[in-house]
């Protein structure tokens, strides 16, 4: 017994220093790694050293090394994109497309002033002979006075609908963006202007501002409502400015809100002299709700727009176009969508969904001049599909779409999307 006790005591006496030595070794190794890291950072520094503001001023260790924190000097790189394949049922045609490749830089000048930007390349190749486009989707400065008051200026997204401001592929269901927020609300819709936004108490957020508006002298495609008259900050005719306002309430699992945008679109005839003195007021509004309970996600939206002076627009724009068309007069649409997360474990998330949409783009007919309603602009669309997230920011999608009027659009689609 005594021998056993002695053996245990000896073992303990030798074991303890061994454990300590291992811990010490680990600590030395960690410290060595930290020293190596610091050396590497010092080597990257310019001769005069990094700006003091780029250091974390708080008294704790950050888990990140690229922090700039509260003060100036931080620039971040963001991006999103999607690649889609669609096979059309009626024609048998199929298309594969790098639909959009978006990247952006955001910069913090100080704790109040920030810059945000996104550059979008559509359809992979942009040239005179190709379909692709390169466009600035956003480029705006934000000055934060307070949570309740931010002022922004530049080219920014109009806060209508659900998709327009949050349009990265992993954030919505379906390979294609929904039709209502494409044809009635012309997502991704941005204007040059000045806005104010902020929080109003628990969960409420407001937006208001004054911006450039549409230019009805540029209308050329009534199938997409007012969309073809957007100016996107490209030498925008700005005789007629527009105003907008939006109010949203957010809490975990719930979004309820709406917005309105209104302004004249004649632009004093800058794009078409026949529109000089024509107001052609556009008013576009929406209400939306998104609610999730447990694994079920529900979403619905209604949007409507009216365009004034459509007789004069027909004469100035529709009748002189090749081919002639009747300009859109009233536009409205709604959708309801349900998704259920059948599997959600770790980063993986599988969510089948169904979406029912209906939109009506009523055109100003003028039979005497051969301008008639396009029946395909009264449409119902059913979309059934699955979003499969490999990661919260990477999604594989597939769906089947049935168009009840224009069956040539019936399709099966597969898509890959990402954001970071």
């Amino acid at each position: 017994m005594k021998r056993k006790t002695l053996a245990l005591a000896l073992a303990a006496a030798f074991a303890a220093p061994t454990v300590s030595a291992q811990t010490l070794d680990q600590k030395i190794e960690i410290l060595q790694q930290e020293i190596d890291g610091l050396k590497a950072q010092i080597r990257k520094m310019p001769a005069q050293g990094r700006p003091a503001a780029a250091q974390t001023p708080l008294d704790y260790a950050s888990p990140l090394d690229h922090t700039a924190g509260l003060a100036s000097g931080s620039t971040t790189f963001v991006g999103y994109g999607e690649m889609n394949y669609s096979k059309f049922r009626e024609s048998g045609d199929a298309k594969a497309d790098l639909r959009r490749f978006v990247f952006g830089f955001n910069h913090r000048f100080d704790d109040r002033l920030t810059f945000h930007s996104e550059v979008e390349i559509e359809h992979s190749v942009a040239s005179k002979d190709d379909e692709g486009e390169v466009e600035i989707e956003q480029a705006w400065l934000n000055y934060r006075f307070d949570d309740s008051i931010n002022v922004k200026g530049g080219l920014f997204l109009i806060p209508l609908g659900v998709l327009n401001e949050t349009h990265e592929p992993p954030t919505y269901y379906g390979v294609e963006r929904n039709e209502v927020e494409t044809r009635i609300i012309p997502t991704t819709w941005r204007e040059l202007g000045l806005g104010v936004h902020g929080e109003l108490g628990e969960g409420f957020r407001y937006d208001a501002g004054i911006t450039t508006g549409f230019n009805s002298g540029k209308l050329d495609d009534p199938t997409v409502g007012i969309r073809s008259a957007h100016q996107e900050g490209q030498l925008a005719d700005a005789h007629d400015l527009s105003v907008y306002g939006a109010l949203n309430y957010r809490r975990p699992g719930l979004l309820v809100g709406g917005g309105v945008f209104t302004g004249n679109t004649g632009q004093n005839g800058q794009a078409n002299p026949l529109l000089k003195g024509v107001a052609a007021r556009l008013t576009l509004w929406d209400i939306h709700v998104k609610y999730s309970i447990d694994r079920l996600e529900l979403q619905a939206l209604y949007a409507a727009a009216t365009l004034g002076d459509t007789d004069q627009l027909n004469a100035a724009v529709g009748a002189t176009a090749t081919p002639p068309f009747a300009v859109p007069k009233t536009m409205k649409g709604a959708y309801a969508q349900a998704a259920y997360h059948v599997y959600k474990e770790g980063k993986l998330d599988v969510a089948p969904f169904v979406r029912l949409e209906r939109f009506e783009i009523e055109q100003q007919e003028d039979p005497a001049n051969g301008l008639f309603q396009d029946p395909n602009n009264f449409e119902r669309v059913t979309t059934v599909g699955v979003n499969f997230k490999l990661h919260p920011q990477v999604v594989l999608k597939t769906d089947v779409q049935r168009y009840h009027t224009d069956k040539s659009k019936d399709r099966f689609s597969i898509g890959i999307g990402y954001m970071f």
Partner: protein, 175 residues
């Protein structure tokens, strides 16, 4: 510019000027020192949690990127531990304080929120979802956290930090 728009623009400009003069305030909601004082009564001496290779690997799995720091400062009175962490939301860091007691999240507060959108994650209606959350087998939370529309990446960052705080608390008690 039509007179009505000019009028609206003037009102907006005056309102903004008045706001700028009277409402200038930062976006830091609580200083870490104040947060610690609130939790402990007074600020205890910080402790250092060493990230061994095993812990670095697990932290990488939780965050989706390697932790840059190989040691993490924290505060503890034996029962409660406080972890002040930072994680990238969409394009800015979120700084949040997590109080862990009995292997569960006792309290969470967003100390600094820098993003231009998604600030709803600092509201009690969002943060209360973490109350009493603990690690399920592995390093997942024992519950789903409801998202906020337009703040997907901020919500993800908060969830990752909560898991990291719980994991660090667990491992710190083993060291």
């Amino acid at each position: 510019m039509p007179s009505r728009l000019r009028y609206g623009f003037s009102i907006l400009a005056v309102a903004l000027a008045l706001s700028a003069a009277g409402l200038a305030r930062g976006e830091s909601y609580q200083e870490p020192e104040a947060f610690l004082a609130e939790v402990f009564g007074s600020k205890p001496a910080p402790k250092v949690f060493w990230l061994t290779k095993e812990i670095q690997a697990e932290a990488s799995a939780i965050l989706g990127h390697p932790p840059a720091q190989l040691r993490q400062r924290y505060w503890s009175d034996g029962r409660k531990s406080v972890w002040i962490l930072e994680e990238m939301g969409k394009d800015e860091l979120i700084t949040a304080g997590f109080v862990v007691a009995d292997a569960r999240i006792d309290h969470v507060r967003v100390l600094v929120y820098r993003e231009s959108r998604g600030g709803e994650v600092r509201r009690p209606s969002f943060l209360k979802q973490f109350h009493h959350a603990r690690l399920a087998p592995g390093t997942r939370l024992d519950r789903d956290i409801d998202g906020i529309v337009g703040a997907t990446l901020s919500v993800g960052a908060m969830e990752r930090m909560a898991r990291l705080a719980l994991y660090f608390d667990r491992k710190s008690r083993e060291q």
